[in-house]
Each structure stands twice: as structure tokens, then as C-alpha cells.
Symmetry: C2
Subunit: 200 residues, 2 copies
Amino acid sequence: MDHRAGNPAGLRERTRRAVQAEIVSTAMRLFLEHGFEATTMEQIANEIGISRRSLFRYFGSKEDIVLGDHAEHGEALRTALEARPPGEPPWEALRAALKALYDSLPYSPEDFLKITSMLHASPSLRAHQWEKRQQWTDLLVPDIVRRLGATRDPMSELRARALAACALACLEAATDAWVRSGGTIDMEWAFDEAVAAARG
Amino acid sequence: MDHRAGNPAGLRERTRRAVQAEIVSTAMRLFLEHGFEATTMEQIANEIGISRRSLFRYFGSKEDIVLGDHAEHGEALRTALEARPPGEPPWEALRAALKALYDSLPYSPEDFLKITSMLHASPSLRAHQWEKRQQWTDLLVPDIVRRLGATRDPMSELRARALAACALACLEAATDAWVRSGGTIDMEWAFDEAVAAARG
DNA sequence: TACCAGTCTGGCACTGTGTGACAGATTTGG
DNA sequence: CCAAATCTGTCACACAGTGCCAGACTGGTA
């Protein structure tokens, strides 16, 4: 039985969420202030007032503090894609799903630019981000297979995977151009431009 | 003056090349035998008979022992692309250049499968490989810009970058399918299939 | 209230990668 | 043979990440 009133989850869960949130905000502040590589896990832990060991219990790696949301974003993207009409061609559905994800991000344009710039500046962050995005493809493949038509051949997965990977490559190219421009160009336009170039 | 007869480069350079080659072959043997992560730099150094510190002087990171060729491969790819007729459409030129690179690889199909499988199995190797391939795009962009037509607008780089990234994404998808099939399917066919799916 | 079981925490030790500094050996060019 | 440049091994160090353990805390029960 639950004796506490109006508590959706136990105290444990709530404190855990709170600590998690504090870690992210504190760490992000330090990262943006001194750079990702230059900030050590020990500094972050000291700043918050917990031990280094506990910090590693909340986030398995330094990169996860920054990219922790990426797994959820993948799920959101999958949901958005599956919400598109079944008959819609893959590229249009992917475009719409990516736009939905982009619009749902809670960052202000300035913060988003700072974070994205940091992501581009640190090799290890870029690498981990790509790793997470590879997992995005895995999530998207089933839906794309469906959209490509129900040919039973075993290579439909290859086709779907290539399509998803190209869409994310275009997203990356667009984001890259956006960052280079200092956030001045329109991201949506850049993405369409990238797709148009790729499709010839 | 060079007192030694028939030596294209000094003794230093030759021994350096020899040691480098021995490191690669010894390390690859250990990697394929016990796995990449399970093999430590100390083990490799001991096996060869040099100090750990010297090993790090030859290869700045463990991943570089495996992916050292990747930089040269990028150059080879650029050369192959630039050797294609100027009027040829980007996708066809890229396809031909990638095939030329693939054909020039010195590995037997069995070795190539083993190495590629290892590359897919280790997250840190995958990440570094992707990083190197990102540099490939930088090398290819100028030529693709030329092929896309000399529109002076500043966004031609975005288009070229997207194209290169999609081509490499298709290569990745094809390689992935090839590895999953245990090397049975035809890589060239898989690549074409991936491109066809992406271009709709 | 008291108690027990599950969980969280900090502290310690340890592995492995990667880097800087230094002294001694080796090569290079004259 | 000499002097400058380069390579080598050794030691020390920073940092990420992990296993282990004892103590503290929480949640539910009697």
C-alpha cells in the first residue's frame, strides 16, 4: 500500500530524478564554460557535492550526461514516424517525423546552437552521438520496411536501413551547415536541400 | 650525401616502417585471436619486445593500429573520384570510385570479413571508423561540388556534403548486410540496392 | 514502535588508455 | 670522430571506468 498522498512514484524515484536533473544542469554549465574534455567527472561531482563513484552510478559515462536524452529522442522519432499515414512515401514520412522531433526539443535556439556546437567540437561526443543515432536507424527500420511495400525478399531490411541512414546523414549535413552559419540559415530548408541533392 | 647504396630512405625511416608493419601484424593477430577490447597495449608491446611508450609513439591510439590505413584510403578514394570523367553524374562517379577502392584492398575475402566483423563488434572501433570516414567526405566534397554544376551559391557545399555522406551511408548499409550474410551476398549488388532505395 | 530487507552512498583499490619529462643510446651529416 | 637531431625505455601522472565493501537510508511489515 502507498501511504503517501499524490506521489506518483516513491521518494527514491523522485530524489533520483532530482539528482539526475541537477547533474545534467551542473555538468552542462561546466561543459559550456570550460569545454567538454577539460571538465572532469571529479569536478562535476565536487560541484554537486556527491562522490565520483555515485556520479558514475547515475551516468555510465561522461558522454551519457550530454547524450542521455538521445535514447528517448529515438523512441519519440519512432513514434512520430509510425503516426504518419501508412501510405505516405518513406522520405516524406521521415521528413515529417524529424520535423516533429525537432519541434519538440525543449531548448531555446541559442542553447541548442551552443550544445550542437559543443557536440561538433568534441570528437568523443560526436562519436557517441553517431553511435546513438545508429540505434535510431534500428528503431526506424521496421516502419520503413512496411512503407517500402511488402516484398518478401530478405533484402528489404538493407533497403530500409540505407534509407534511414541517408535521412540521418542529410539531417547531419543540414545541422552541420546550420552550425557553420551560426544558426542563421533555416534548418528545414537545409534538410530539404540536402535530400534533393542526394536524390538527384 | 647518402653513403648507403640503393636505399631510397635512411635507415631510420626503413626501421620505422618495419617496426610499424610488425606492430600492425602482431596486433591484428592478437585482436582477431582474443578480441579488440580484450587485448591491451601492454600485451602488444611485450609480444613485439618494445616498451608501451614506444608503441604509443608509433600509434597514437589503439584504434589507429587497426584504422591507420583509413587516412590513405581516403586519399585513394579522392584520387579515384577525380580520375572519373568530369561530366559524369556524382552518384555514378562515387560508385566507381568506391569500387576502385574496394578492388584495391590487399585483403583476401576471408580476412576482410574477419576484420570487418571485428570493426562491427567493437563500439570504439566503429566510432573511430566513422570519424575517419567523416574526413573522407571532406576530401570528396570539392570534386562533388564541381560535378553538381558551378552554381555560385554558398550552399553547394551543403549539397555536396549530403551526397557524399549518403554515399558512405549506403556503403555502410551494404557492408553491414554483407557482414550479416557472412560474406555470401555480392557487395556491389548490395550497394546498388541501397542507393536505389535511398533515391526512391 | 522496532525490525528486516532492499537500495543507495562514499571510499578504496585497481585496470587501462594516453601524455609529459628526462636520461641514455643511436643515427645522421659533416 | 664529432655534434645535432632523433629514438628509446623508464618513471610519473591524469583521467575514465569498474568491482568490492561497510555503513546509512528507505519502504514495508509485525
